[in-house]
């Protein structure tokens, strides 16, 4: 059975199961951070295949956009302020033309969870962020190799204090337990041997205010014979990665995580669903673009049970609202957005521990529900203390040439499509039916407070 058959058979639009706004919005919620009305309409017209293709291979950023990103990055670097670092990444979530890449970068940030609380260096955290972005949809093996020598990771998991005489096992343990195989698929001896192979990295002395730098010192590296996962040789780090990737479990481990991230996070996916995906992953050099593409093209992805089967992470929720509503850039207070994400439980560059964010139901408790609601209310009605002006629904209606009286219907389509019960829909329509700005804001507030709006 090829991947074209079985659980990952591609979605083929037809009369019973047409390509519609619900599917387009679902795709954008999952593969990115929600989409504007224009993008939804564009992809509705373009069809399923073209829409997915556009996400996997987007147009390049314009020069202007690139310049803004570079400036923000430089700003973060020179200020040495982690808040500016958050601003830089949030700006990317908001405006980058490659949302799937940013979604995957966020995935890797939780997978290789590294916290600036211990690293204590904006330049190193930025470098790691760029590394994750560069490899986001690439080959997993290349990503692994580069994380071994990544400065932030070296500090975070003590690679920098690991020496031939006394190898530190922290990185080796997490490499096997969290990054590749998962608990129960290697032994303590494997950890010790891998730790030997990861030695050799030293910090070069910094001059003044320069960022920490690292180099490989062969004299600190343990080049002796090692037996790792049943294979014996004078292994180095690259060999450890190679041997690890020979284990079939790696593909399953990662595909399970990717499944929860893109498809469905309620319950454990069946083995019959993961196995073919894992096989594709292995047979295509562990290419992320390949398996993510399979998922995003599949009938399974668009099926009814898959919709609204994830809880939006704080970044998805808070950024998504701004993107969908196309809040003008001048009115977006990215620092307030950063605080909102922090308070909702997802502080970028500061994952709670080496396991990253557990996500799912743990995003929701009475404090975070309040913060999510308050963020929506701040965006819609404004917040003087934060310098956030109220949202202008009239401008949105005008830009998209939607009649005033159709405005609420359009907002429902934009944000929730058919995910609203008929009774609630009736209340929302009545509230904003005359299309006056304050009534549209009330309707918008009701929409944002529908419990389903918390789901992706």
């Amino acid at each position: 059975m090829t991947i074209q058959e079985g659980p990952w058979a591609p979605y083929q639009p037809n009369a019973e199961d047409p390509w519609d706004l619900r599917k387009v919005a679902h795709l954008h919620r999952r593969a990115g951070f929600s989409a504007s009305w224009g993008d939804l309409q564009r992809d509705l017209r373009a069809g399923a295949a073209a829409s997915v293709e556009r996400l996997l291979n987007p147009p390049a950023a314009t020069t202007d956009e690139q310049q803004i990103l570079d400036a923000l990055q430089r700003g973060a670097l020179s200020s040495r302020d982690s808040e500016r670092l958050k601003v830089y990444w949030l700006y990317r979530f908001l405006y980058d033309t490659d949302p799937l890449r940013e979604k995957m970068t966020l995935f890797w940030h939780s997978h290789f969870a590294t916290s600036n609380r211990k690293v204590g260096s904006v330049p190193l955290m930025l470098a790691q962020n760029e590394l994750l972005r560069r490899h986001a949809l690439g080959e997993f093996g290349s990503l692994l190799i580069d994380t071994i020598s990544d400065g932030a990771m070296l500090i975070w998991l003590d690679g920098i204090v690991s020496r031939r005489e006394q190898p530190n096992e922290n990185f080796a343990r997490e490499f096997l337990e969290l990054f590749t195989l998962g608990v129960g698929n290697y032994t303590e001896a494997d950890i010790r041997q891998a730790a030997r192979a990861f030695t050799g990295w030293v910090r070069t002395p910094e001059r003044g205010n320069a960022a920490p730098a690292f180099r490989f010192d062969a004299s600190r590296f343990d080049d002796g014979e090692k037996t790792f996962l049943g294979r014996t040789g004078n292994w180095n780090a690259a060999d450890i990665v190679r041997i690890t990737l020979e284990q079939p479990r790696v593909a399953e481990f990662l595909c399970r995580k990717l499944y929860r991230y893109f498809v469905n996070e309620t319950g454990e996916p069946a083995a019959e669903v993961i196995a073919p995906l894992a096989a594709e992953f292995r047979s295509h050099r562990y290419s992320l673009r390949h398996v993510v593409g399979i998922m995003l093209r599949s009938r399974h992805f668009y099926a009814h049970p898959t919709r609204f089967a994830r809880i939006k992470s704080p970044v998805e929720f808070s950024v998504g609202l701004l993107r969908a509503l196309e809040v003008p850039r001048n009115n977006v207070r990215v620092l307030a957005l950063a605080v909102a994400c922090d308070r909702q439980g997802q502080e970028l560059f500061y994952p709670p521990n080496v396991r990253g964010w557990v996500a799912g139901r743990t995003w929701i408790n009475s404090t975070t529900v309040l913060e999510r609601g308050n963020w929506c209310n701040d965006v819609i009605w404004g917040n003087r203390d934060l310098g956030m002006p109220p949202y202008d629904p009239a401008a949105w209606v005008t830009r998209h040439r939607i009649g005033r009286r159709r405005a609420v219907t359009a907002l429902l389509d934009l944000l929730l499509q058919d995910g609203v019960h008929a009774d609630d829909r009736a209340v929302i329509l009545r509230t904003g039916g005359d299309g006056r700005p304050d009534n549209l804001r009330r309707a918008l507030q009701l929409i944002a407070h529908c419990p389903r709006f918390q789901l992706a």
């Binding site: 396991r355 009475s366 404090t367 419990p451």
Partner: protein, 420 residues
């Protein structure tokens, strides 16, 4: 959260909304629905309030071995006279400024655990605090905290947040590194719903419409939607209850408001009284690193601690909530037996820890500090701090301390919890 009938009706949430949730409603919600005829919120689960004294509190001048002449000889300027101390027993008295703590002692709500520390004492603030926070003798910045681990033992229920850090300081490592997000807050504004609706026609209608969106429990059993709906319901009722408590704010009288600690503890009391199901509150007070001219500074700090804690316990008592609350006060180390040349003391080792509340076995526990058998000039610890943690985790919070602490530690007889 145990919402009252009044709250349900005001929010347009009839009892039928919850009953319609069906058999799988979490028990406390089901109990609420059945008990809507009742008045005030029923007491919920147990609460541990942790008070961190930052800087190394001088244990020997807090719980004073006033008859021991080694104490007096080692501290010609800094030792406290026996008069003025609040008597704990024949050998020990509380610092004169601890009037508030003495009141707790008189009410049989104070347990003093003496000579608490750990092997190979570390006199670095940062390192010793990390040891207390992680219950590990060699932690690093990434090691999860003891409370974070304790909380991870409980399932995520989407209800009230499990722990709250009430302070402007950075989240302590004790609460860090688990799966749970622990918010820090300094005022109740953070529990307020910023609805943003402009006042005027339709504002009340909009508020009602927002609440009613939550009333409709539409999700199928076990679905994510249902989880979100219920969590939101709990959130809005908690928030509504807090608004009421804030309006009743004047009732929280009796606090020495000029003390920051008193204001923080008053906030904690408000949250407990509002029926929040949060089980851990963590706050701190700094300034205990009294290297020079110790006497005045230390007295002021202890007065703040004693008076604030007394106001806190009395507030809870009046509200009928004291029985479910325990307070643990600790510091990262004590101070040296011998004073230094600046009428102060330097970093020490073992020191007393305080457990307070109606459910303690009151009095002094553990041996008096042995001032003759010293380790590098300071008294040795007699009780490992992890025994205190084990006692609280197992007996008070219903956890499995061995998993949290990385080993079994024998309990201390500091609690008096009735069966049933």
């Amino acid at each position: 959260m145990q919402p009252t009938r009044r709250e349900f009706l005001r929010l347009g949430l009839g009892g039928s909304a919850l009953l319609a949730c069906g058999a799988t409603v979490p028990t406390f919600l089901a109990r609420s629905a059945a008990a809507l005829a009742d008045g005030p919120a029923r007491a919920g689960g147990r609460v541990l309030v942790v008070l961190q004294l930052d800087g190394g509190n001088d244990g020997l001048n807090t719980v004073v071995p006033h008859r021991d002449d080694v104490y007096r000889r080692s501290r010609p300027r800094v030792a406290l006279p026996a008069q003025g101390l609040h008597r704990l027993n024949d050998d020990l008295g509380l610092h004169p400024a601890l009037v508030g703590l003495n009141r707790l002692h008189e009410n049989r709500q104070l347990a003093v655990v003496q000579s608490v520390g750990y092997p190979n004492p570390n006199r670095s603030h940062f390192e010793s605090m990390a040891i207390w926070h992680t219950a590990r003798l060699r932690p690093d910045r990434g090691t999860p905290g003891w409370l974070a681990r304790g909380l991870d033992q409980r399932a995520a229920a989407g209800g009230d947040v499990a722990a709250l850090h009430v302070s402007e300081a950075l989240l302590p490592q004790a609460l860090h590194g688990g799966q749970r997000h622990v918010p820090s807050l300094v005022n109740l504004e953070q529990f307020r719903r910023r609805l943003g609706i402009p006042e005027g026609a339709g504002a009340a209608q909009q508020r009602t419409a927002l609440d009613q969106l939550t009333n409709r429990q539409r999700g199928e059993d076990g679905s994510l939607l249902q989880f979100v709906e219920r969590s939101t319901l709990i959130t809005y009722t908690s928030s509504a209850r807090l608004e009421e408590v804030m309006r009743e704010g004047a009732a929280a009288a009796g606090y020495p408001e000029f003390y920051g600690l008193a204001r923080r503890l008053r906030l904690v009391a408000q949250l407990i009284k509002a029926g929040l199901q949060t089980s851990i509150y963590y706050t701190q007070i700094g300034g205990f690193d009294t290297h020079a001219n110790q006497l005045n500074a230390h007295a002021n700090l202890l007065r703040e601690v004693g008076d604030s804690l007394r106001a806190f316990m009395e507030d809870l008592q009046r509200a009928g909530q004291a029985e479910r609350v325990l307070v643990l006060a600790f510091s990262e180390f004590g101070r040296r037996l011998a004073e230094n040349g600046s009428a102060g003391t330097d970093h020490g080792t073992a020191a007393p820890v305080f457990v307070m509340g109606p459910r303690v076995r009151p009095g002094v526990h553990g041996p008096n500090p042995n001032l003759r058998d010293l380790d590098d000039g300071d008294p040795r610890h007699a009780i490992d701090f992890r025994r205190v943690y084990a006692t609280l985790l197992d007996q008070w919070l219903g956890g499995r301390s061995a998993d949290v602490l990385g080993g079994r530690f024998e309990h201390l007889p500091v609690l008096d919890i009735p069966r049933g």
